[in-house]
Amino acid sequence: MKPFLLGVIASLSLALPAFAYDGTNCKAPGNCWEPKPDYPEKVEGSEYDPQHDPAEISKQGESLAVMDNRNEWRVWHMKETGEFEYDVTKIPGYEEGGTPPSE
C-alpha cells in the first residue's frame, strides 16, 4: 500500500509543476511567459525544435518586397499616363526589382 501511495504522491508532485504557469510572474513589463515545468525555455536543440528551414522563413518578406515593387511601378505608370496597367511587363521601362524613374 505504502509504495502505491508514495507512487501516487510522486506522480502528483511531478505533475503539479506542469500546472504552475499562470502568466503573472513577469520578467519585465509585457514579458511574462515562463516555460511550463519539464518543458524547455528554448525549443532550439530540444525535442520540440521544429527545425524550420531559414529559406522557408524568409519567403514572406521576399514576397512582400516583390509585390510592393510591382505596385510602385503601377502607381508610377498611372501618375505618368493617367492609365492604370496591372500587368507590369507592359509598363515601358519596367524591370523586375528596379525602381521606377523619379517623378
Binding site: G23, T24, P29, W33, P50, Q60, S63, N71, G82, D87
Partner: protein, 633 residues
Amino acid sequence: MRNILRKSMMNVSPLALASAVMVGTVGASPVLANDQLVELAKDPANWVMTGRDYNAQNYSEMDEINKENVKELRPAWSFSTGVLNGHEGTPLVVGDKMFVHTPFPNIVYALDLKDPGTILWQNKPQQNPTARTVACCDVVNRGLAYWPGDDENGPLIFRTQLDGHIAALDAETGETVWMMENSDIKVGSTLTIAPYVIKDMVLVGSSGAELGVRGYVTAYDVKTGEKRWRAFATGPDEELKLAEDFNEPNPHYGQFNLGTETWEGDAWKIGGGTNWGWYAYDPEEDLFYYGSGNPAPWNETMRPGDNKWTMAIWGREAETGEAKFAYQKTPHDEWDYAGVNVMMLSEQEDKEGNMRKLLTHPDRNGIVYTLDRTNGDLISADKMDDTVNWVKEVQLDTGLPVRDPEFGTRMDHQARDICPSAMGYHNQGHDSYDPERKLFMLGINHICMDWEPFMLPYRAGQFFVGATLNMYPGPKGDRENGLGLGQIKAYNAITGEMAWEKMERFSVWGGTMSTAGGVTFYGTLDGFIKARDSDTGDLLWKFKLPSGVIGHPMTYQHDGRQYVAIMYGVGGWPGVGLVFDLNDPTAGLGSVGAFRRMKEFTQMGGGLMVFSLDGEGPYSDPNVGEYVSGEDA
C-alpha cells in the same frame, strides 16, 4: 494569372483614372473623406460602412420599425448573389444605391433602390482559384468600403479579394480604377477583411495566420493606390511603427523591443498576428482601432514567449500609422483566441461618474474588454459567460489574465473541456451598441473543446497549425445532442452585468443590429432573422431565410420608408462541414464536430432579404420595373 487579370483591367475607365491621377498629384481636397463619411452617416437613411458609422455601433436612430410593430415585418424584395458559400458582413447603402458583396469570387453588385430588380452594375474579378485552397475557413468576405469622392473625383467602392488584391471601383459605373497586390497566396496570405476608409486612405488588413502569415495593416492612397504606410504585428519596433510615446500611459503593458524579444529567434517572421476583423475610428483623436490575431502556429510549445504583439487591441494614428497603444489580451496564446473582433466606440460615464471615450471589445477569449480609447487604460474586463475557464480573472491594475493552468495546452498532453473553444465565445460577428439603453448586444458562441498539439515544420503556403481539436456545446448547451451552441446577451460595460441573455440552437455568428425602435435584430446559422425586445430580450418576430446567416443585419431608409436587410448564405468557419461535405469531427479545425447538426436545419444559398412593415416597398406599385417597349434599350 496575369492574362486573366489583364482581362479584368480592360474595363478601366481612362477618364476616371485621369481625374484620379490629376487630383492625386495636385494635392488633397480641403474636404476630407471622413468628414463626408461622418455627414453621410448622420443621415439614418444611409449605411455607409460596415458598422454604420466610425463608432461601429451598428445602431440606427430610426424607429419607424419598433417593438410594437416589428411583428408586421414582411419581405419587400430580395436578391440572389449567385454565389454559395458563407456570406459575412452586410451591404452598404448610399442614397439611392445599395452595394452588395459576395464571398469568392468577390463580385460587387450595385442595385437601384428605386427598382432593386435592376442591377446597375456588377464587377466580377477573375481570380486565381488557388486562393480557395489557402483560405482557412471557407471563402468569406466581410464587406466593402465607400469613399465619397471630392470636388474632382467621383466616389469609389473598395473591395478586397481572396487572392490578396485590393481594388478601387468607380461607384457610378463599377469600372476598376486600380488594383494592387497586398497579400500573396503563394505564402498563404489572403484577404477576407472589409477595407476601411479614413481620410483619403483605404486600410487593408491580412489573413492567413493558420498558414504562419505575419500580420500587417496597410494604408493606400484612395486615388492612386500608392502605399502610405504599413505596420506589422510582430518584429522590430520600426516595422511595428511604435510611436515614441507608445504605451507611455500604461508602461506595464510593455513598450519597446518586445516584438522580437518575446519570440525565439526568427519565429516572429512566421508568427501570425493577422487582422481580418473590423476597424473603428475616432476622428477627434485621429486614432483607429483594431485587433491583431493569433500567433502561429497554434501549438504553443513551438513558440516560447509572450509572442507580442499578436492578440492585441491597437490604437494607431491614422495619418502616420504609428501605434499610440497596444494591449495584449492573451499573451502566449494556447487556444487560438484570435483577437480580431469588433471594436465598438461609445461615450459613457465610468463608475466614478467621469465621462470617458470608451472602446468595447468582446474578445474571442470570452472576456469583454473596455478601454479608454484615448490612452489604452483598461477599465473593465468581464467574462461573457460564467463558464469561461481558461482564465480566473483579468487583473485591471496589471492587465494580466490569471490563467488556470488546468486548462493550459502543451505538447504530449490532451487538454480537455476548455471553454471557450478555439472559435471563441465571440468570433467575427459585428455587434451593436444601443446608446439609449447603454447596452452592447452580443452574439455569442457557447462552445468548448479538447485540444492536442502536434509538431510540424513551417512551409510557406502550407497550413501551420499543429493542433487537433474536438469541439462541442458549452456546459449550458445539450452536449448529447450537439445543440445549444450559442447565446445572445445584452451587456452593460460599466456595471459588468447582463441585462438579459437567451440561448440559441447554434452560434450567433454574424452579429447584431439595434435600433431606436427598441429592437435588436440578428441572424442565426439555422436560417432565421430574429427581432428581440432590446429591454427584455423577448422574441418579437422571426422569419425563415433560404439559408443560414453569418453576416450582420443593417437598416436603411428609402422613399421615406425604413427597411431591414440581411445577407443569408451559411458557411464560414462554422459552416465548413456543410459547405465542403466533411464528416470527420476534427476537420475544419474542429468545427465539423461542433456543427454536425446544422445540415438538418439549413443548406447553402446566397443572397439578401429586405423587409419592411407589411412588405411595402418599391414593388407595392406593380408597375415599377415593368417592361415597357423601347425603355430598356
